[in-house]
Amino acid sequence: MIKFFQNLIRKFFRKKTDWKLGLYGPPNGGKTTLANRICKDWLGEEMGTVSPIAHETREIQIKEEIIVKSGNKELKFNLVDTPGIATKIDFEDFIKAGMEREAAKKRAKEATKGVIDSIKWLDQMDAVVVVLDATKDPYSQVNITIVGNLAARNIPVLIIANKVDLKKANIEVLKEAFPQYKVIGISAKYGNNIDNFYNSLFEVLR
């Protein structure tokens, strides 16, 4: 309840230019790929590195003053790319992915800290884009926890069904899982349907 009012007060007094748009989701959903797409489209530069090995983003990354334009409308925000939220991290998974033992252990340790930071930052967000892999089962508790916590904090949410360029992608399952939210299918990697995503940001960051 206290957090709800803190959030409300912060939103009331915030400057329009201080809006923080967070990218949240489980690891390997494509948050950083989407962050790179947004930054490349509107700033001309990338934001972070991507990797097929989970937990590549292990620190909060912020890109300030992104201006998205659509027709006569303009939207200014700070983009916050967060480490993927997970309930388990096993360094042996990184070894299986080809990493050396020590590097894998270091990555696992940093990844656990990254998850904690992502959760801590939830309260700082003015709106959140939840980036989910459209080829995977959306009914995971991590997804439900993220979306449920944002709803409890009264933070506007847009759900992205990413990787629609892949054959296995199924946006309809995602829509069924989160019927109370707008779900947009995109490919952050190739830019499919990205204009629809940008237009939807204007609805989320009102």
């Binding site: 997970a86 388990k88 696992a108 939830l122 009914y139 019927p179």
Partner: protein, 126 residues
């Protein structure tokens, strides 16, 4: 051997959020699968993930968790919604079940709104 420890709601009813989380994690770290009557609050779910991350080590790899609450079904039926709200009011966090297991034993918990499937790891691979 796979062992499930049932925690009835009255066991956690009077505990604070951090005490609930500690109780659950202590049992999970002993390699039991916890079947909790009721569900955790939204903030408790994130708190559980945070505390789990703080405790990850070479031995403890984290948890798998799922909640099932038949009352969460989306419906447009007015009377069904009324019934659901009444149950929420009466039972609150006591509705549904939460299942939490150690990641060293539970490979995956698949869930849809009405069903949970718990897949365990092959003992040799643990």
């Amino acid at each position: 051997m796979l062992t499930i420890r049932f925690i009835p709601y009255y066991d956690i009813k009077h505990l604070s959020s951090s005490q609930r989380i500690r109780k659950i994690l202590d049992i999970v770290k002993e390699e039991y699968i916890v079947l909790l009557e009721g569900k955790l609050k939204k903030e408790e779910e994130t708190q559980l993930i945070k505390v789990t991350m703080e405790q990850i080590s070479d031995q403890f790899k984290g948890i798998e968790i799922a909640q099932i609450n038949p009352g969460d079904n989306e419906t447009n039926d007015f009377f069904a919604k009324m019934r659901e709200q009444f149950l929420n009011l009466m039972l609150g966090d006591r509705q549904g079940f939460t299942i939490i297991g150690p990641a060293s034993i539970v490979k995956e918990i698949k869930q849809d709104p009405n069903k949970i499937e718990l897949l365990t790891k092959d003992k040799k691979k643990r």
